[in-house]
């Protein structure tokens, strides 16, 4: 199993550009999450999904959108990139059982200039 994969690893965007961060998991997990980590800060939840077709906002959703058309994929869309979105983005997934352990991807480092 590859676990949770994310693409791209790095990206530089100009202000106002759009992009999609890809996330795929091959563990058949129902729950998927997007976090951002700013320097010296913990991970903050952007959006999450409890299953295909179901998504909801986390702590910091402004400026982002998500979709979940399949169990495996959970892309994160930035429509109008702003410097405040410069961060490292992590995708994670977890079982739909009593386990609270989340499995993380390697992250995408995004710079908006």
């Amino acid at each position: 199993n590859a676990g949770v994969t994310q693409t791209p690893k790095f990206r530089i965007l100009k202000i106002g550009q759009s992009m999609t961060l890809q996330c795929t998991q091959d563990m058949n997990h129902n729950y998927m999450y997007w976090y951002r980590q700013d320097p010296g800060m913990g991970l903050k939840l952007i959006y999450y999904s409890v299953g295909a077709g179901i998504t909801d906002k986390g702590e910091v959703p402004n400026g982002y959108n998500v979709s979940r058309s399949t169990t495996e994929d959970f892309p994160l869309r930035l429509e109008l990139a702003a410097p405040s979105q410069t961060s490292v983005y992590f995708c994670a997934s977890s079982y739909s059982t009593e386990s609270y352990e989340q499995y993380f991807g390697p992250g995408t480092r995004l710079t908006v200039t």
């Binding site: 913990g42 903050k44 939840l45 986390g58 609270y100 352990e101 989340q102 993380f104």
Partner: protein, 114 residues
């Protein structure tokens, strides 16, 4: 308002000694706590967890202690090894939540010196 706080941004320990990483929380509704370990350029990986109905959980060299009255948990690593050098995040979950959402602390960089 940070509900999960790791007040020490960094910690250095000699190889073979004990490493103690601390975490404080403010939300009484947290019922499950986890520690994650993160190496540079990688995602966090799960290390150990504890339910709020317990006060200690042990897994090999790693032990987590929970003091509910003080709203404090700690991670002990004994003996510390150079490969333990990483950022350690404390995380917590609110009871009754259906989406397994976690609240993370800001992390502590542990450096184990050979």
């Amino acid at each position: 308002d940070q509900q999960v706080k790791q007040n020490s941004p960094s910690l250095s320990v000699q190889e073979g000694r004990i490493s103690i990483l601390n975490c404080d929380y403010t939300n009484s509704m947290f019922d499950y706590f986890l520690w994650y370990k993160k190496y540079p350029a990688e995602g966090p990986t799960f290390l150990i967890s504890i339910s709020s109905i317990k006060d200690k959980n042990e897994d090999g060299r790693f032990t987590v202690f929970l003091n509910k009255s003080a709203k404090h948990l700690s991670l002990h690593i004994v003996p510390s090894q150079p490969g333990d050098s990483a950022v350690y995040f404390c995380a917590a979950r609110v009871s009754g939540g259906s989406a397994r959402q976690l609240t993370f602390g800001s992390g502590t960089q542990l450096t184990v010196l050979p």
